[in-house]
């Protein structure tokens, strides 16, 4: 048993060490210091393993201090009225109780959680499941006791209760975690259920825990959990039950079956699981059988030729993904239009004063157009990759310059068509009440406002397609492999969100929007024309 535990620990250390090396090799300046041969260098790796393990232990100690400081002590300092040790100790204990005892114990079971180490050692190498669990879950709990103890002792001392109260709390926490493990195992044996896999259970548990922890701080009064937990009888009972639970778990004979049932390839971080996760990221653009009624191409589509034909079929078979959201958007705009009409007829004064403020809402419309048009564009690009380009890009002729640009132009036209339809409807819905109520809005100002909405829709059509063609970020395994893609998308999103914060836009804001959209779109098209034939590849 001891030898098996040692072996599992060694495998675990080697895995951490390899992971550490892998990440070191990603760092731009120092990656040259770590050649691939290091993975196989036994002596050097032993030393590196020791360093990695030491770093891990240090980080656990630091982590506990940081957790108690940020989650329990800092809120006390910030939220409690007066920082008196006597009043804050009960609140501190109450927070530790709800978050670490309550949520920590019931959130997940170490024994029943799938992990790569368990999968490798027990399922692939046929090692003893008990030894593996002792080396993983057992070690985690022991580590938790050892690393929580100094942190809790320091904070109980800072809060005026001396270090021993912290030690007792730490022992009780370890006992509670052991009882939590036992309850999870018993529940699984009876029902084969893992509460930690149920999103609702997690939400309720975490919300309950956070409420229990922080409401007393806001209310200024905590439950007397400190007196309860530090009562000698409770201490003895809890630690005694914990010790009994730990003994029960140590003697439990059926770990092998448990690991085989709970630890499957798809749950652990293997290549297959990564592939599944990557597939899941494309779930929103996966086609359903109902989208793929092959016979419905229709004579109009069949009369088209070449890439027009291909794209017509693509958009036809993706209408659920692409046209449906546009329909809903148009319905929403239609409702606004009707509301505007009703307002103009029933409450013309109010409507007039409202629509006269229209230009002040342009920053909000920047976000609305982002939300409508960019979202649609991004979804279309994702669908294009997953359902079409990932396979076509393996054909040399599909990567030829004229083909890439021709296809881009067709797609841009089609997506712009959908987005301009929505933008046009928005313009109509906004202009109607202005004209009907005779609002005092200079025609030039109204025209510039409506034009910026149309320009925004073009901008948010060009942007996702430009990003897709120039930074094509997806690999054949469906991972995103281009940091620029994420960063630029994030910047555009942040600019749009920041626009929401502009309450009183200056009168030249409309000019900024017009200039920015026109210049960006033109520049993006130029970059696509020059770069896309080289960059539009499967990574």
């Amino acid at each position: 048993m001891i030898n098996s535990v040692k072996n599992v620990l060694r495998i675990q250390a080697a895995m951490s060490c390899n992971r550490f090396l892998f990440w070191l090799k990603k760092l731009p300046l120092i990656r040259r210091l770590f050649p691939d041969s290091l993975y196989g260098a036994v002596n050097a790796k032993q030393r590196l393993m020791a360093v990695v393990e030491a770093l891990k232990v240090l980080s656990y100690f630091a982590g506990k201090f940081l957790y108690l400081f940020l989650c329990c002590y800092a809120p006390l300092v910030l939220l409690a009225d007066e920082m008196t040790p006597a009043g804050n100790w009960p609140m501190f204990v109450s927070m530790v109780f709800f978050m670490s005892f309550f949520v920590g114990c019931f959130l997940q079971s170490g024994i029943l959680t799938a992990s790569l180490v368990k999968y490798t050692c027990v399922r692939q190498m046929g090692m003893s499941a008990r030894a593996c669990l002792a080396a993983t879950t057992g070690r985690d709990h022991l580590q938790m006791l050892i690393t929580f103890t100094p942190a809790l002792m320091v904070f109980s001392w800072v809060l005026g209760r001396g270090p021993w109260a912290g030690l007792l709390l730490s022992l009780e926490l370890a006992a509670a975690r052991a009882i939590g493990e036992l309850l999870h195992v018993l529940l699984y044996l009876k029902t084969e259920k893992l509460p930690g896999k149920n999103a609702w259970f997690i939400i309720v548990l975490v919300m309950g825990g956070l409420a229990g922890a922080y409401i007393p701080v806001f209310a200024g009064a905590a439950l007397p959990l400190d007196r309860f937990l530090l009562n000698p009888a409770v201490c003895i009972a809890l630690v005694g039950c914990g010790a009994w639970a730990a003994m029960w778990l140590l003697r439990f004979p059926h770990y092998r079956e448990l690991v085989w049932k709970t630890c499957k390839a798809e749950n652990v971080s293997t290549a297959a699981a990564k592939q599944n996760a990557a597939q899941a990221a494309f779930k929103d653009v996966q086609m359903k059988d109902s989208d793929l009624t092959a016979e419905d191409a229709g004579s109009r589509i069949r009369s088209l030729k070449g890439y027009e034909y291909l794209n017509a079929l693509f958009f036809r078979r993706h209408r659920r993904l692409l046209v449906k959201p546009v329909k809903y958007e148009l319905m929403g705009v239609g409702a606004v239009f009707l509301a505007g009409l009703a307002g103009a007829l029933l409450a013309p004064e109010l409507t007039r004063s409202l629509v006269e403020q229209l230009p002040a809402f342009l920053p909000t419309f920047v976000f609305i157009m982002y939300f409508m048009c960019n979202t649609l564009g991004q979804r279309i690009c994702k669908a294009m990759f997953y359902n079409c380009d990932i396979s076509f890009l393996r054909y040399g002729w599909y990567r030829e310059r004229k083909v890439v640009l021709h296809n881009f132009a067709i797609r841009l036209r089609r997506v712009a068509g959908l987005n301009l339809l929505v933008a046009g409807a928005i313009c109509l819905a906004l202009a109607a009440p202005v004209l009907l109520t005779g609002a005092a809005l200079p025609p030039l100002e109204l025209a510039a406002f409506l034009l910026s909405i149309l320009c925004l829709s073009v901008f948010f059509t060009v942007h996702p397609l430009f990003m897709y063609y120039v930074f094509q970020p997806y690999t054949s395994q469906l991972a995103v492999k281009n940091p620029f893609f994420s960063v630029i998308n994030w910047v555009v999103y942040m600019v749009c969100v920041l626009c929401l914060q502009i309450k009183q836009p200056p009168h030249y804001f409309v000019l900024i929007v017009l200039a920015a959209t026109v210049v960006y779109s033109a520049a993006a098209l130029l970059v696509v024309w020059r770069r896309a034939p080289k960059t539009f590849r499967v990574k």
Binding site: A294, Y309, F314, S391, G396, W397, E400
Partner: protein
Amino acid sequence: MKLILDQIEKHFGEKQVLKGASFTFEQGHIYGLLGRNGAGKTTLMNCLSGEFPPDGGTFHLEAEGAPRPLGEGDVGYVLSTPVVPEFLTGWEFVKFFLEIAGGKDASGRTPDDWLALVGIDGEDRSRLMKDYSHGMKNKMQMLCFLIARPPVILLDEPLTSFDVVAALEMKNLLREMKADHIIIFSTHILQLAADLCDEIAILNHGLLEEVDPAIIHTPAFENRVVEILKDEEHHD
């Protein structure tokens, strides 16, 4: 027409897969590309097909003594795991491909004729390719080069997924086509290589070397190939 590879190098991280592979492939021959697992056969094909550029060396076509670069449209590549656009039916794919191949196909065949040629019949033609078997997808990929007739045809483990009848049909098609093309296909099956190929190129330790064509159809062939592939010190 010749396809000339000159000192092709490719590495992934620190692993040097191709270490200056040079070879001249000639029109009218079917070349078998042999090599052990991980020798770099697919890497070489990916370089030639433009999937990614080599790190060193060059390759070009030479027609009537005049060299020219190998363009994206010059290569037909059939991958070992076939990828076809799954939202199209077989018939739609062929119609589309015939249109974009613009004039390269002088046979006057319709999409139905082409599908019949590779044995995709009846209802299968109007089924979406996502429901096609591995072998059927492979046939669709092969149709691309049958229609477009690119000068260079690369086939990565092409016939292993075919049933015996389809495999024989494909072999006959390749033999019929070879006069106008440079055909290179990688395989692990020596029997197939000996049966179909006029020349054998072995990729070993990142370099290409030719097996004497005279022994391909003799009993000595298998021993010679294994001898080269087992010889660890051969190029080091």
